[in-house]
Symmetry: D2
């Protein structure tokens, strides 16, 4: 599984979000690897209309329908075509009680929940809240091009061990610094089920080629 | 001018956001009154495609394009079809420096900025930051059905006086509790150029009728 | 163990914080029950000088010494005489990563960490981060006079079960609505090691009598 | 006027806060210049007992007495001996409505309010809220050793002009990068009434000498 986080990069905003999602869809169909795209909220509907691969929101707020101007409602991203959501990304961290609440909201709205975590104990803590996916991303490696799977393999394996003690079902991903197909292959060998990536794809001159490389590395 | 804030009401989410925007467009065309709709981020693109009246975002974050997962980029709401944005709504308040920064971002992206404020001195403070629109909304009246224009007429007239000392150009609206055509008429008589409304329209059994009543009262 | 949270009640500010702490000390010495007081930051030093019972801060920030104007440094509360700190109280909630960071800071500065949690899964999640004390407080009962130990005994017993799976050492307290000695007795019977209380003591006409009642109930 | 912000520097925590405050008092008495110290909350009481110069809090929260665990109450810092407070420092920024509320709280409790701002329009906006002191600090210069009075003299003079249009009474200070007596002298020549400083004093090998230099430059 590969999740591509579009962040607020201009290279993945508006029309370019749709184009990038189509390249992800192409790589997914050719390889059979599950590739998910996570565009900005304002682009969710257009991206979801344009592609058949899963589309995730980048965040939802722990609010219910009502008087919450400027907030992100699970119901709204669902109706816009999202089938899941990132939660607690290091650039959009939540209070613990809100992580719990948003996982519950996602569950009720049939949205796949992918909670981002930063170290093994925090990942294990989150495992107890039973999200669908846990993605470990040491914040200090994000955007560096130094892959967590290579720089901190023990962070990944420790996380898997600690998470599995209390949760045998969550999909475990790793992120931060994933730049080459080899990084993806190492991540899988360490026991994860995939990767969460952003700049390596979004900022690439030819995102399709990199995505294809990542997807191919996921098959081996 | 009437701005309809959809908040995160289910009655104004997804398809229902598009329907409500169409009723606003109908009332606007029939009366010649400028009616603006402010749907949720995930609904911006579909609403903007469906109607010709102005569409505003409910909030933008003080961030630039880049690594800001889960944030609201001015560029993204613009490309989704928004022509303006609410800023600092009482349900989504900002730090002072971020109010200034988002007004500047909006300006650069040619988005109309509508800053919400809660009392006369705060409104005058905001006037110095030169947003396009200032909307005064005493938080204690929001959602009550008690109109600010009737309950606190002096809050409205004091605001106008203080704002005009330093800013002769900003459009001044008032909000909170506006429920009847008469509330709109009083607001205009007090010297505002219009109203910011939410539940009175969104929660109405027949939003078009109320909108039409508000628009008609705006013409007298 | 009884922790008395002074919150920002005027009845427990300044001189009155010192007086209340002395009554807590008296009740503690007479009964042999460990009573801890948690005054406001500005009162920590005077309270810690006046009594020999443990004094906790109400919160620490996840910051290091440096350029963090207006923040609460673990080193500062320690030097003021605190021997522990509340973390993540429902009125001062933290991001998950900051809960982890503040527990680590407390550990390094030899401060006892007491993390407040709101439901069994969240308590179990926190248990993985190994604070010294976990205090479960369903936010909907805080300040109601309806004791968590009576209204939601299963919340307490479920928490204990889930916490003990991953953490056999943390002291487990319960809070919210504790008003009578009997509530304390029930809390202990359910398997906790004590209670976290606030208004029942701080707002009492005669705090000593209530504290003494709570302490006596802790001995049975 | 010179305000020394102790931030959360270890060099100005606990006993060392008291020592530094005494050196400030010495420089103040010798020169007749008003020197204010702003230690951490936990150190307020001990510092205020040890010196006769004014002691400010670094922040207060926009809360009233009551159930606000871990917050900073105006009443508590007042009773601990503070005679004023910083508000909205760039490292502890507030929502606009909370800046207004804390200025009001400070006024009611007879605490001098010193609001920090970052650019001329924001300073003028704050001027409308009538704090006692406005201190302009361009965030990009804080801690750099490049003095705002030299690097951005027009920021200072523009601020003074804009502030004076609406507020003739507020004391105007400037901060950020003030390192030498000459920086202070320039700040005064530009029309300010003093400076807000931190690392140049707190991190100095001999804080007294620098403080004395600053105070002497304030007299010319």
């Amino acid at each position: 599984m590969i999740i591509v986080n579009f962040k607020t990069y201009l290279e993945a905003t508006g029309k370019r979000a749709v184009e990038l999602a189509k390249e992800a869809e192409k790589a997914s169909k050719e390889t059979g690897i599950n590739i998910v795209v996570a565009p900005q909220f304002a682009d969710l509907a257009r991206v979801a209309e344009a592609v058949e691969i899963p589309v995730y929101a980048q965040h939802i707020d722990a609010v219910f329908p009502g008087a919450y101007t400027g907030h992100i409602l699970a119901e709204a991203v669902k109706e816009a075509g999202a089938s899941g959501t990132l939660i607690n990304h290091s650039e959009r961290q939540l209070k613990l009680a809100d992580i719990d609440a948003t996982i519950r909201h996602a569950e009720e709205k049939d949205l796949t929940s992918c909670v981002c975590t930063s170290n093994p104990p925090i990942s294990a803590a989150v495992a107890y809240l039973h999200p669908d996916i846990i993605s470990i991303e040491p914040p200090e490696l994000i955007g560096t091009g130094v892959a967590v799977s290579k720089a901190q393999p023990e962070a990944v394996t420790d996380t898997i061990k600690m998470v599995r003690k209390v949760n045998t079902e969550a999909v475990i991903l790793c992120g931060a610094g994933i730049s080459h197909g080899e990084d993806v292959a190492v991540a899988l060998k360490l026991g994860t089920q995939g990767v969460l990536v952003a700049s390596a794809i979004v900022k690439a001159k030819d995102p399709y080629t990199i995505l294809r490389e990542f997807a191919d590395s996921s098959r081996t």
